[in-house]
């Protein structure tokens, strides 16, 4: 049960963002990631940041949840920023040592890079905390529908995706239980060097694989018993409906993009 709270978990606060059409939210998330790369100065970055804060406020989910999303990736972000900082050229040189040098431009760019990472991670978190996995899968299926004319098995892919997403918490629970059981049998996960620690994963991974295969088998049987046929046309219990709010959300994005392009020129 401990493991149930993790990065990007759906939080049911029923905010206005929760009620948006998942298709709108998926497009919005992608589009935001694209326009993050348009930001090239202070104003554009501030605009994107404020917009993100606005979304976070709308989502009624505490800032802490979002911070938990960024925290584990902090080292990757900082490392990338450091590479950018030491190896970029251009602008005024400030410090130099052999092949490493820091320039004024490098400092600015690495700061932008940190923001870019944080924005992208946070906007994806906004998507996943406000959208259930079933809605996500339904949205993706609907968006990929045109591909089915090219004989791409879209609904099967969506089914696979929704099953995979659905079982993440279950499997994390399972890992916790197996680790507890092995700890109760005297296993110490934290002692020893890297190799010894890796070896210690065996008593966790094998039971996990065994139960995952068994679960997959059971699930396949249950699906067949309920008449699931791959490729057969399926209807959905909850139809996706495009509401007025989705239009407003779309309009907001158009305005944001135009504002960004204008501010870029300054």
């Amino acid at each position: 049960m401990n493991s149930k709270v993790f990065f990007g978990l759906y939080v049911p606060t029923n905010s206005i963002l929760h009620r948006l059409d998942p298709r709108m939210k998926i497009i919005a998330c992608f589009w935001y990631v694209v326009i993050v790369f348009l930001a090239n100065n202070v104003l554009t970055n501030v605009l994107l940041g404020l917009f993100l804060l606005f979304l976070i406020w709308l989502s009624k989910v505490s800032l802490k949840m979002y911070w938990q999303g960024i925290k584990p990736l902090m080292w990757v972000i900082l490392l990338t920023a450091a590479v950018q900082l030491f190896f970029s050229t251009g602008g005024q040189p400030i410090w130099q040592w052999h092949f490493l040098n820091i320039t004024s431009l490098g400092i600015i760019q690495s700061i932008y890079l940190i923001f870019r990472f944080a924005f992208i991670i946070t906007i994806s978190t906004v998507l996943t905390v406000t959208t259930t996995t079933l809605q996500l899968a339904a949205g993706i299926e609907s968006l990929l529908k045109p591909l089915s004319y090219l004989k791409v098995p879209v609904s099967q892919l969506a089914m696979m995706l929704s099953i995979a997403l659905r079982f993440i918490p279950t499997i994390m629970d399972e890992i916790q239980t197996i680790m507890d059981a092995q700890r109760a049998r005297g296993m110490d996960f934290s002692a020893g060097n890297l190799f010894q620690r890796a070896k210690r994963l065996v008593p966790v991974m094998i039971p996990l694989f065994v139960s995952s295969f068994k679960r997959a088998d059971d699930l396949a049987l249950a699906m067949e018993a309920r008449g699931y046929q791959p490729g057969a046309p399926r209807t959905a219990y909850r139809q996706l409906r495009w509401h007025m709010n989705d239009n407003w959300a779309f309009l907001t994005y158009v305005v944001l993009t135009v504002a960004l392009i204008v501010l870029r020129q300054i």
Binding site: D180, A184, R185, D188, V210
Partner: protein
């Protein structure tokens, strides 16, 4: 009164504290579990039974209060090394313990615990053989893969994996779930014989018939609070309390209750079918004398 094996002092535990998902699993639990007893912990789903037993084995640490287990005093500050030592004293059989099997052979799997305790290969093997003997597994299966066994055999091998560590306190979390009646009896008889050899057994159960038959003490949890401590006989005579905790009396007790409603009188409330049979024989003999 015998020395207690486990003492809970004002224990509280909350899952996912300080998040949107925080859940108060246990609140203000104070209780004692006697050394050498067979104590049942019962309550409906989500009442905190498993949380309580995980606290005894230090798999979770209490947010408030403390738990005395043997020489260990567990609080939210207890350290890693202390907990490692605690696992030597306490054996924990999880729900569906066959899920923890992983080795190539049955024997290797049972040796895993003793080896973790730092025993030599020879000692570990000896301890594993003793444990496998306790669960009555045919010796020709020792070098088979645990995944080739039947469900009931896998369950018993997994239990042997815990017994091999020779714990003072044995926790069994719903050890009979999903087994056929014979498999259930085997496991419970095993728990009972360990109890008779002096091990403190803590049994988490949903089945009141098992509790009535085997336990000498019962703790009842309801929504994270301790609502009853005492003997099964005392518990099952309190219908109101059972109802509040969303529990059913054992079959024989329920049967006797409905007979009592029809005007029969029982000197002792029967808890098991044998009890009920004895009581009925007494009643019928009385009837015979009247006529």
């Amino acid at each position: 009164m015998a020395q207690p094996a486990v003492v809970f002092k004002k224990v509280a535990y909350t899952y996912n504290a300080q998040t949107a998902f925080s859940f108060k699993a246990l609140q203000d639990i104070s209780a004692e579990i006697e050394k050498g007893s067979l104590t049942a912990i019962i309550g409906h789903t989500g009442s905190g039974k498993s949380t309580l037993t995980k606290l005894v084995d230090g798999l979770l640490l209490p947010d408030h209060g403390s738990i005395q287990v043997g020489n260990f005093n567990l609080t939210h500050e207890s350290g890693h090394d202390e907990l490692l030592k605690l696992h030597r004293e306490v054996g924990y059989v999880f729900q569906f313990p066959e899920k923890q099997l992983f080795s190539d052979t049955v024997l290797q799997d049972v040796e895993f615990g003793p080896l973790n305790l730092g025993k030599s290969a020879k000692e570990a093997k000896q301890m594993a053989l003793v444990a496998l003997d306790t669960i009555h597994l045919p010796a020709d299966l020792y070098d088979h893969s645990p995944f080739e066994l039947s469900g009931g055999q896998m369950r018993r091998v997994a239990i042997a994996g815990v017994l091999a560590m020779q714990p003072q306190i044995l926790i069994m979390d719903e050890p009979t779930a999903g087994l056929d009646p014979q498999g259930q009896t085997e496991i419970l008889e095993l728990a009972h014989s360990l109890h008779e050899q002096g091990t403190t057994v803590i049994l988490v159960s949903h089945q009141m018939d098992q509790v009535a038959r085997y336990a000498d003490t019962v703790l009842v949890l309801n929504h994270g609070q301790l609502v009853f401590t005492g003997t099964p006989r005392n518990l099952f005579s309190q219908l109101q309390l059972l109802k509040q905790a969303e529990l059913e009396p054992p079959l024989a007790t329920a049967f006797a209750q409905s007979m009592a409603d029809q005007g029969w009188h029982f000197d002792h409330l029967p808890l098991t079918v044998t009890d009920l049979g004895n009581e009925l024989v007494k009643q019928l003999q009385k009837e015979g004398q009247h006529e």
